[in-house]
Symmetry: C2
Subunit: 409 residues, 2 copies
């Protein structure tokens, strides 16, 4: 429902053979409901105002008077008016209501307060100004408050079908929304979708809020469970390529956010996954026992011998161990000693000890190793690219998503 909320000023309802601002906004916008806010001094002319509003042809709005009467000694106190009027406007705000504020009626402080409500409060309202018929100051033009209302209506030049529309809607930015937007952009630039969602969730009447919230909740909930974002899931990439790409994008995002402990822990799993997948697809080199990868020693006795020899050199024994990153690298070195992948696996091996201190010994990451982590992230991307046919555009997935979200903000 469209609701016009207006204080009643000395110019209302009719002055100088023309609509006062309240009557004029009603004539142009024809709101279904009009809430009049009286001051002690305007209370007397309530019936005149109602009669004037009812004089608009083919229009029968619901006209109510707000319970609160503005005190004469408060109508020129700006912050009191701001607090009081905010309160009143708040009472009429709801998803179903489209609230219009009059920006021209009553004292400068009331007008300023209405303006401030439109521009700085959380309320998603509209605010309308009305120019004087002569388009300049009313100074020197008398008031018609004492005249007979029927005569005023009769002689009102605006009371005809071809009246001149003197309304002007204030379409400027709302500072509150603008500030929120700035905050959201800061969080978005840090890929903190959960934070953006939480802030939006506390907003009323933000533009595009439904679509924004849905997009942000989707991606945030997906990330939380290491899910595959819809676009990637719907792509033609194989399910292994999707898993690896998704894991890499998560690592890169965390790296940009500075979550180094997280990056370290996941990097090894990613490269292990890629190598396991590659070696198994190319060479059928793995047998799974209890879901754990073991060497297909029957098919590759020479690799078994190599593993046994390596262990012996370290004074250990090899017995069908569960395969891991280091074994995969050994296998690759054995089978394809010139493979591109081997240019990068060294960078992953280099961080393995630091990684285990964080993952298993629960120790803090030492920032002096940051450069190695950075190299390892880069290496993991090259390993991914060398193992799967993944088009380059996928690597800007989160930045593309941010652009999409920014368009809605």
């Amino acid at each position: 429902m469209q609701i016009l909320i207006s204080a009643v000023g000395d110019t209302d309802p009719i002055r100088n053979f023309h609509d006062g601002p309240l009557l004029h906004i009603a004539r142009v916008y024809r709101p279904e409901k009009i809430v009049l806010i009286h001051s002690e001094r305007s209370l007397d002319k309530h019936e005149k105002v109602v009669k004037a509003l009812q004089s608009i042809k083919d229009y029968a709005p619901e006209i109510v008077q707000d319970d609160l009467i503005l005190k004469n000694d408060e109508v020129s106190i700006f912050d009191t008016m701001y607090a009081t009027l905010s309160n009143i406007v708040g009472n009429y705000m709801s998803d179903e209501n489209d609230v219009i504020l009059s920006l021209t009626s009553a004292t400068p402080q009331i007008i300023s307060a209405m303006f401030a409500i439109n521009r700085i409060s959380d309320f998603n309202v509209r605010a309308v100004q009305v120019a004087t018929p002569q388009k300049s100051s009313n100074e020197g033009i008398g008031y018609d408050n004492e005249k007979d209302i029927d005569v005023l209506i009769e002689t009102n030049l605006d009371n005809q079908s071809d009246f001149e529309d003197r309304t002007h809607e204030d379409k400027g930015i709302n500072f509150s929304q603008d500030l929120t937007k700035r905050n959201l952009n800061i969080l978005l630039a840090n890929y903190d979708y959960e934070a953006v969602f939480k802030l939006l969730d506390s907003q009323k009447g933000f533009p595009n809020i439904k679509k924004l919230k849905k997009t942000l909740e989707n991606i945030s909930e997906t990330i939380k469970i290491q899910g595959i974002p819809e676009k990637i899931a719907n792509s033609k990439l194989s399910s292994q390529a999707q898993n690896a790409l998704n894991s890499y994008l998560n690592i890169e995002r965390n790296y940009k956010q500075g979550n180094i402990a997280e990056v370290l822990i996941r990097l090894k799993s990613l490269v292990e996954y890629i190598l396991e997948n590659y070696l198994n697809e190319q060479f059928n080199i793995i047998v799974y026992t209890d879901n754990k990868p073991h060497l297909n020693a029957e098919k590759y006795p020479d690799i078994l011998a190599k593993f046994q020899e390596n262990a012996k050199n370290k004074g250990q024994e090899y017995h069908d161990n569960i395969l891991n990153l280091l074994y995969y690298i050994n296998i690759l070195e054995f089978l394809e000693p010139k493979h591109d992948l081997l240019n990068y696996t060294g960078k992953i091996k280099e961080i393995n000890n630091v990684r285990n201190q964080v993952a298993h010994s629960l120790q803090a990451f030492d920032r002096k190793n940051l450069k190695n982590v950075s190299s390892a992230v880069y290496a993991s991307k090259q390993i991914l690219l060398a193992s799967f046919n993944i088009d380059n555009h996928w690597f800007s997935f989160y930045d593309d998503l941010n652009q999409e979200i920014k368009k809605l903000l």
Copy 2:
């Protein structure tokens, strides 16, 4: 230096035998400097305004006119006034200056803009209103712009020592800071310290900003590298207890944030760490080769035999494998079959497969297993409590930190 910045309106400097707002604020606050902002329309009376200001007894302010003249067709456009006046006010802002804005002079748009600067800009200013002498609308009271200024000064009833102070300072909240505070509280409740820090980092003149930023940057950077927060690091807890507690608190925080994949991956490491530490301290059961834990088979041949038997039952062989969570649970079952810990280790075992799918197969976590994760988080806390002497107050570490931060907000 106290500086009054005021536009000049039709009521200035004197109207109806009383101070206009500009003159009145000067009379009450006696600022050392007064900056007059003229519009084209008020420019003519500059000398009258200066003369009136100089009529205040025992007061000789520096009176300057800002270079910028407001255009007549712009004084009723809010956005222009806000931008222009913000700019002017910004020029006078400095640590040494205490800036007062007049909230009563000139057009409603200028008043609103001044109010907005006080309430939503980053500037730390004060804003003062002046009530009319009759404490109500000025309607029907003529302007005195054409009268002789000396006569006006002579007959100004406020120009005496016992004048009535009609000023009223706007002490309302700054909306920008208030909105930011609300946003920060939402993010803080989600333990998103990085987001809180990023938003604060974009703020100027926020109360306690230095201390807040330091606290938030500290905790955020600590979390990123799995560091031990200072308070925990300085406690009397053993270094192992500190590592385990810190890891648990990170898991719990991530659990509250909904980061289930992360929780799953870390839970196993935590419990593995606790059991390894407990069994080694109590029974000296581990030998380390290449930093990896192996069974001290010389000391515990019966456990070795048990492991070999278990493997054989599954058609496998046991050969000095690297110990992990499941081995530790087996050892504990063997050595202390009635130990409290065993009431909870089952919950960790239950999520092990789901965990490996996320950690190693890079698959999405299936939310149908959420209840098991929740039970496992609870179990991990009990395992921690049963293994280390950690006082209960440590478990509210992040909530206590949030309370501390909230006090500064």
